[in-house]
């Protein structure tokens, strides 16, 4: 039966090619637009560390030194609080993070010096965030303690400096200090670059830069404070630092602290520890009640990391799809009803309403399938255009298997939805009336 319906559908579609093409095009364009934006949305709003993100938390005490009724702590912390919390070692794993610009030379190469962004952190960073290594390994906790001059570099930088060869053991010159490479990262492109996210809630949706590539060079926090002294930027200061870029003793917020807490009990205990610490430091900390322990996804949500332009585009695309849907419904309706005579004959010869309904839906579904194919091509084209946009996330935009499948599901569902009403109307055609007019 299905084969017969398929044959009928093909004949019917072939009868008016222009109209068929119009319907297919409408579905394809609607699907293309919605899937392009949905794919971008899916990439940007997803979990950067599926499976572990619920164990990772951003710990905050309020180092804001301005008096006033502030409801939230600053997005970053001062040196004293961060170091105290880190030294207490109350978490299963913990990492301090701070970003700073650094000059780099590779003595064995002829490349000119580079200005790079460096992430200074502590040894747990790598296992905690599941960072893949191509060569070597992270530095050890002892290296943090001994302020070792070591570094981990990105695979991009390794390709650029050493042509992708195993560079572990080689030396780089960071500002005026020689550091030894202990590890080279594999491909790592978290979306967003969650560990440095801060200030997003004030960015009015202009948050595309949170999706930048990870830094090219990673060094121990303790040693970076020494060799890159004077190059650290504050998130905010209540008074200007006496020596710009040297923030250890300045009234500035500039560090982030991530902790891994393996169970809800551990998380609750850590929150109590934060509260206790803030209360104990009352005086230095003006608002001890302002402690926060947000999980990774809560933190990203609170910071509003998905750019408002991307949200807007998604709304727009679905509005577009709705219009394409109305368009297709109208055209299908006109098409089916025009064949009233044919349907009347089939009904008179014994076809049930259900059979007519199914036959019409098969025809709509075929339009959906072809439209879906077109939509897929347009989605690929749309994503290609997004990749050429001057935004930080352009390089990671791609169609994964799930979105690929979703494209077809959306196309078929759309066209069945579009076909439902016309098919229903067609199946209600009274055979007698139609036959009379023949």
């Amino acid at each position: 039966m299905f084969g017969y319906y398929l044959d009928l559908a093909l004949r019917s579609l072939r009868r008016n090619m222009v109209l068929t093409a119009l319907m297919v095009l409408a579905i394809a364009v609607g699907i293309g637009a919605s899937m392009t934006t949905l794919t971008v949305m899916h990439l940007l709003s997803g979990d950067p560390l599926p499976g572990r993100s619920d164990k990772l938390f951003y710990a905050q005490v309020d180092d804001n030194l301005s008096a006033g009724d502030y409801k939230e702590p600053l997005d970053k912390q001062g040196y004293q609080s961060t170091i105290d919390l880190w030294n207490a070692r109350q978490a299963d794993r913990q990492a301090i993070v701070v970003e700073s610009p650094v000059k780099l030379r590779a003595p064995q190469t002829t490349l000119p010096p580079l200005m790079l962004s460096m992430l200074s952190t502590t040894a747990d960073f790598f296992p905690m965030f599941d960072v893949p290594f191509r060569y070597g390994a992270p530095w050890r906790a002892e290296d943090d303690a001994s302020r070792a001059r070591v570094a981990v570099i990105s695979s991009d930088l390794n390709d650029k400096l050493f042509g992708g060869a195993d560079s572990v053991g080689r030396t780089l010159r960071l500002r005026d200090t020689d550091v030894r490479i202990v590890g080279v990262l594999g491909r790592w492109r978290p979306s967003p670059q969650f560990y440095t996210v801060a200030g997003g809630r004030f960015a009015a949706g202009k948050t595309a830069d949170f999706y930048s590539k990870p830094q090219d060079i990673f060094t121990p926090f303790s040693s970076a404070l020494e060799f890159n002294d004077g190059n650290f930027y504050q998130y905010t200061c209540s008074q200007p630092p006496a020596t710009p870029g040297h923030l250890q003793n300045a009234p500035c917020a500039w560090l982030g602290l991530w902790v891994q807490l393996n169970s809800p009990d551990r998380a609750a205990a850590y929150k109590r520890f934060l509260d206790g610490y803030a209360a104990q430091q009352q005086g230095r900390i003006l608002r001890p009640q302002n402690t926060r322990l947000r999980s990774l996804m809560e933190w990203l949500d609170f910071q509003g990391v998905v750019p408002s332009d991307v949200r807007l585009q998604t709304w727009l695309a679905f509005g577009f799809l709705a219009i394409c849907l109305f368009n297709t419904i109208g055209l299908l309706l006109a098409k089916f009803l025009r064949r009233g005579g044919e349907i009347g004959v089939r009904r008179a010869l014994g076809a049930s309403r259900g059979a007519i309904f199914c036959q019409c839906l098969v025809e709509a579904g075929m339009i959906g399938l072809v439209g879906g194919l077109g939509g897929l091509l347009l989605t690929l084209l749309g994503l290609g255009l997004v990749r050429r946009q001057p935004v930080a996330f352009a390089d990671m935009v791609h169609l994964d298997a799930r979105m690929f499948a979703l494209t077809f599901v959306l196309a078929i569902v759309t066209s069945l939805l579009a076909g439902f009403l016309p098919a229903l109307r067609a199946s209600r055609v009274a055979p007698g009336l139609q036959l009379k007019t023949l």
């Binding site: 009724d69 200005m115 055209l331 309706l333 009803l337």
Partner: protein, 407 residues
């Protein structure tokens, strides 16, 4: 033209007519808002900067290794840059308009205030106002003798001394208006945090911030009399000479000290271009969507129109046989489309207003100006008429003899 017969025909095709109406309504609503978004973005792209846009060059360097005497090096660099033919002004600065990275301060009117009144950006650098070419509205710009060095100011601040701190400031007119509405800001004192009082000696028309979080505060900038030696230079040239001057500047800076990296060397137009890249691409996208929507809607009208004409061939033939002219038939379909479009537009306007309310809440957009409603309506009427013209002409071409044939 009688409307009654059209209405009674439409009543027989309620669903189809409703679909056309809905399609027009949605298109109207979305296109009105999208066009409004486009105009907002275009306004933003053309945001005034308050500086001599086509005469500026930015150069940023970074030292390799230690620099013994930043002060002497800066003086040498500035002298060498000034000596390049075509250069009119130079300054060693901390940041540039639309440059993205910025240094900002909370400004209070009373040091005992809990929260700052406004947040404004700090421009430092001797001669920065003159080099940027800001337009003075009242008072004066900062002069060389007003300046203190940033390092010494930091030291003085640390030791709690007032000697060595900046005492005066030049602010922009929008900022002055926000702080002292309806009054002259000249001579008034503003507080940098709770510690440093600054007297306003000059007001400039505009000076845009390096990074903008809130478009309403885009012009909240101050120029403080502090000398900086950050290896970042701003050069103003005679118009049309920037490429040559930029090349020459790179040459002399390399010669002055070869152990430096250029992390930035560009004309200010590139700065502006880059700053609004995302707005520009969003504008392109919105325009593309609008065009696509209108095309889809027009094609929908063509498709349905053709069907209706085909369906009513006999009816048309009968009317023609009974004496209707071609013009009558043509106008019949045109009027029908006009009626559908009008209902669609009416619903679309309500929808457009609703979408605008949603955008106002979630995207801090202003209210849709009233002019969009008549213009939007006119556009859709025209598109509707253009789309139905083809099918209507075909209908008008139906010969009366059709009436005598059975199918």
């Amino acid at each position: 033209m009688a409307i009654r017969p059209i209405l009674s025909t439409l009543r027989r095709h309620k669903t189809t007519a409703l679909l056309v109406v809905l399609e027009i309504a949605l298109t109207c609503a979305i296109v009105c808002n999208a066009v409004f978004l486009v105009t907002q973005r275009i306004d933003r792209i053309h945001m005034p900067s308050g500086v001599a846009e086509h005469e500026l060059i930015q150069i940023g360097l970074a030292d390799i290794g230690k620099t013994p005497d930043e002060h002497a090096r800066t003086l040498t660099d500035l002298a060498a840059l000034r000596a390049i033919p075509g250069v009119t002004e130079v300054a060693s600065v901390n940041q540039i308009p639309f440059g993205r990275s910025s240094n900002n301060s909370g400004i209070k009117l009373d040091p005992k205030q809990n929260k700052p009144t406004v947040n404004a950006t700090n421009y430092y650098g001797e001669n920065i106002g003159q080099t940027l070419g800001v337009q003075l509205v009242a008072g004066r710009l900062l002069q060389p003798e007003d300046h203190v060095s940033l390092k010494e100011a930091g030291q003085a601040f640390k030791e709690g001394k007032t000697e060595g701190l900046p005492r005066i400031v030049v602010i922009t007119q929008p900022m002055a208006e926000r702080l002292f509405p309806g009054q002259s800001a000249l001579g008034k004192t503003i507080w940098l945090g709770s510690e440093v009082p600054l007297q306003v000696v000059g007001v400039v028309k505009n000076l845009v911030r390096p990074s903008i979080w809130n478009d309403a505060e885009a012009q909240y900038s101050m120029m403080l009399p502090m000398r900086v030696e950050d290896n970042q230079y701003l050069i103003r040239t005679a118009p049309g000479q920037r490429e040559r001057v930029l090349a020459a500047a790179i040459e002399v800076l390399k010669k002055n000290n070869p152990h430096r990296i250029f992390w930035q060397k560009r004309t200010w137009d590139e700065v502006r271009q880059k700053f609004f890249d995302s707005d520009r691409s969003m504008t392109g996208l919105l325009i593309g969507v609008c065009v696509a929507l209108l095309v889809v809607t027009a094609l929908g009208i063509v498709g349905l129109g053709s069907f209706w004409v085909a369906q009513r061939r006999r009816q048309i033939g009968v009317r023609r046989a009974l004496g209707a002219t071609r013009g009558h038939i043509l106008r019949y379909f045109q009027t029908e489309n006009f009626l559908l479009a009008t209902i669609g537009i009416a619903i679309g306007m309500v929808l457009a207003y609703g979408i605008n309310l949603f955008l106002m809440v979630h995207y801090e957009l202003p209210r849709l100006p009233a002019i969009y409603f008549p213009v939007g309506a006119l556009a859709l009427w025209l598109i509707g008429q253009a789309a139905v013209l083809g099918p209507a002409m075909r209908a008008a071409a139906v010969p009366p003899v059709v009436a005598t044939r059975s199918v």
